[in-house]
């Protein structure tokens, strides 16, 4: 490589500055949120139930629990379906037009705006299946939305398993199902999990479908079944930020946002660490 002349360093410095700006955006976001919300944030705020009349006396426990339920529900639905679809695409399907159709459908599902998923969920789960504005309706809507992300990540993990693993297994007399279940899936599983985690992190932060399918802003107890109404952190942030008359509502919104961002960051960071360790460990 010929070393760059001094003049040529200029574009490099610009690109470097852009990257630093990108990183700065992340830290600025956290810093500004902290500045606005840290005074409100306390153990009480996280643990205590919400009080609608006087927001200063309550916490956001229901919203946290609601979001956790949503996250678990989405995992329960979209992870098995997503991995199974990926297995079909990589292990079973031949290079046919039908496979191409499925791949195109996945790509397009990934591009559909979240608000459109909200409309779909509203018609199918809330009105047609008569779930009403309940936890299960939100979970199913978000599951459909998360599905393409889980599938894409799982397909990547499955195709990374070398073909010789499958060949050896088949050569030993295993059926395709045995090969998938005992050889391919165990090798690809951490990769699939990474994709699942990232999907759930995004589903947790997604607000538009929840607005449309319907979270509530006020709940006296905790939901005990999936067919009850629920509160969720992102919706709570939205209402506090835009529709609450209390003058300190925005600090409460920022504190709630901090809790939400802590959840999504932990999930994403977890996924990144799993992926990194996987790459170190992988000897194929």
């Amino acid at each position: 490589m010929v070393h760059a002349s001094r003049r040529e360093y200029i574009p490099f410095i610009i690109f470097q500055a852009a990257t630093i700006a990108g990183v700065a955006i992340l830290f600025m976001t956290l810093m500004l949120l902290w500045r606005e919300g840290h005074a409100v944030l306390s153990w009480d705020f996280v643990m205590r139930p919400w009080s609608h009349r006087d927001i200063t006396s309550g916490g956001i426990a229901q919203a946290i629990i609601g979001s956790l339920f949503v996250g678990m529900g989405v995992t329960l639905f979209s992870f098995p379906v997503g991995v199974a679809t990926a297995v079909y695409l990589t292990e079973y399907s031949r290079e046919t037009l039908w496979k191409r159709v499925i791949q195109l459908a996945i790509q397009n599902l990934a591009g559909v705006p979240s608000v459109v998923y909200g409309l779909f969920g509203l018609v199918v789960f809330v009105n047609t299946l008569k779930f009403g504005t309940t936890l299960i309706a939100a979970i199913l809507t978000l599951s459909v939305m998360t599905l393409p992300w889980v599938i894409t990540a799982s397909v990547e993990a499955l195709t990374a398993v070398p073909p010789r693993f499958r060949h050896s297994s088949l050569a030993l007399g295993a059926t395709r199902w045995q090969t998938v279940w005992r050889v391919v899936l165990p090798s690809a599983f951490p990769g699939c999990i990474t994709g699942g985690i990232v999907g759930i992190a995004r589903a947790l932060g997604e607000t538009a479908p929840i607005i449309i399918v319907g979270a509530t802003f006020y709940l006296s107890g905790f939901p005990t079944s999936p067919f009850q109404k629920f509160m969720a952190l992102p919706y709570h942030v939205f209402i506090l930020a835009t529709q609450h008359s209390n003058s300190s509502a925005q600090s409460y919104a920022a504190a709630t946002a901090l809790v939400l961002i802590l959840m999504t960051f932990c999930l994403t960071l977890g996924a990144i660490i799993v992926r990194y360790r996987l790459r170190l460990k992988k000897d194929w």
Binding site: H3, S5, E8, P11, F12, F15, Q16, A18, T19, A21, V23, L26, T29, L33, V81, A84, T85, V87, L89, Y92, R94, E95, I102, A105, N108, A110, G111, V112, P113, V115, V116, G118, V123, N127, V144, L147, I151, P163, R166, H167, L170, G173, T175, R176, V180, V198, A201, G205, T207, I212, F238, A241, T242, Q250, A254, L260, I261, F265, T268, I272
Partner: protein, 309 residues
């Protein structure tokens, strides 16, 4: 199918190394996985059919011309409701255009730095950091827009209220940045290494190689990044709902408050009677969003395929 036949079939193809071409087609596991995979197609078709059947109903009450060309959207008016999405569509266009103008150059620069300029250790550390931006929920970006960016924009431009198209675009740009950066990086990273080496061998400098070889070679992938980013930006709802200013008037400039199509759906859907013309109108807007993003994805897919070949 018997287990024995299965084995023989698979064993022979394993030896031949073409096992993908002759799977055991009619085993139970094949049928189960195939059915689950078909769900994705069912969901996509289902979304389209629901949007179409409900959304098309609006045209029984409203003319095509009014819906697409009029810029007066006022479905709840007491005397004469108006159903033109012109202003909403223009709002989407303005916010999307501004966002692309901000986030694409930045995302491209980040991708270029990470894929070809940064030393390995710096890349390993910065790449996850940029990815973390994607896990900032959009409602949080909306909140930051209300709390900090809107007042800043208001002060800089001397406005009474900073909730406008520019503020929304600034925040949406942050949301779109990691997507654009990561697709650009894929495109730049997938240029064969021998191109780079050949260029160096011919005596080109690092920057010459990037500018004359790597970027042109990755052109269609970069275009795909632009288009996919566009799809994400058009669909962004929460940020524009919170900081775009929420005005149904036809915007005249980038400092006007706007209300893009996504925000309109999110604001109005909870207050309409199910099955009413208003309800159908909102689904028609949803249908437009769906079709636009569908076309965008299709074009991007074509570009990426050409890029791979």
């Amino acid at each position: 199918m018997t287990a024995k036949g299965d084995q023989k079939n698979d064993l022979s193809v394993a030896v031949l190394g073409v096992h993908q071409r002759f799977p055991s087609r009619f085993s139970y596991d094949h049928i189960v996985f195939g059915t689950i995979a078909a769900l994705t197609v069912a969901f996509l078709v289902g979304i389209f059919v629901f949007l179409l059947t409900i959304g098309a109903g609006v045209f029984r009450h409203v003319s095509w011309q009014e819906f697409f060309w009029s810029s007066n959207w006022n479905p709840t008016a007491f005397v004469t409701p108006a159903w033109g999405i012109g202003a909403l569509f223009t709002s989407t266009l303005i916010v999307t255009g501004l966002t692309v103008a901000i986030s694409f150059p930045l995302g491209f620069a980040i991708a270029l730095y990470l894929s070809h300029i940064a030393p390995r250790s710096v890349r390993e550390c910065l790449k996850p950091t940029i990815e973390m931006i994607a896990s900032i929920p959009s409602v949080v970006l909306g909140l930051l827009g209300i709390l900090f960016v809107a007042p800043l924009v208001a002060r800089v431009f001397g406005l009474s209220n900073g909730l406008n198209a520019l503020t929304a675009a600034l925040m949406v740009a942050i949301a779109a940045l990691p997507t654009i950066a990561s697709i650009c990086e894929d495109a730049l990273g997938s240029v064969p290494r021998r191109y780079e080496e050949a260029s160096f061998a011919l005596g080109a400098s690092h920057w010459q190689t990037i500018r004359r070889v790597m970027i042109p070679a990755a052109r269609s992938g970069l275009l795909a990044a632009l288009i996919l980013g566009l799809g994400r930006i058009i669909g962004e709802t929460m940020i524009v709902l919170m900081v775009a200013g929420n005005s149904r008037a036809l915007p005249q400039g980038i400092l006007d408050p706007v209300r893009p199509m996504t925000a309109t759906i999110a604001i109005e859907i909870k207050e309409v009677v199910i099955g009413s013309v208003h309800w159908q109108g909102l689904f028609a807007i949803g249908l437009i969003l769906f079709v636009v993003t569908f076309v965008i994805n299709f074009i991007a897919d074509l570009l990426i395929r050409r890029h791979r070949v």
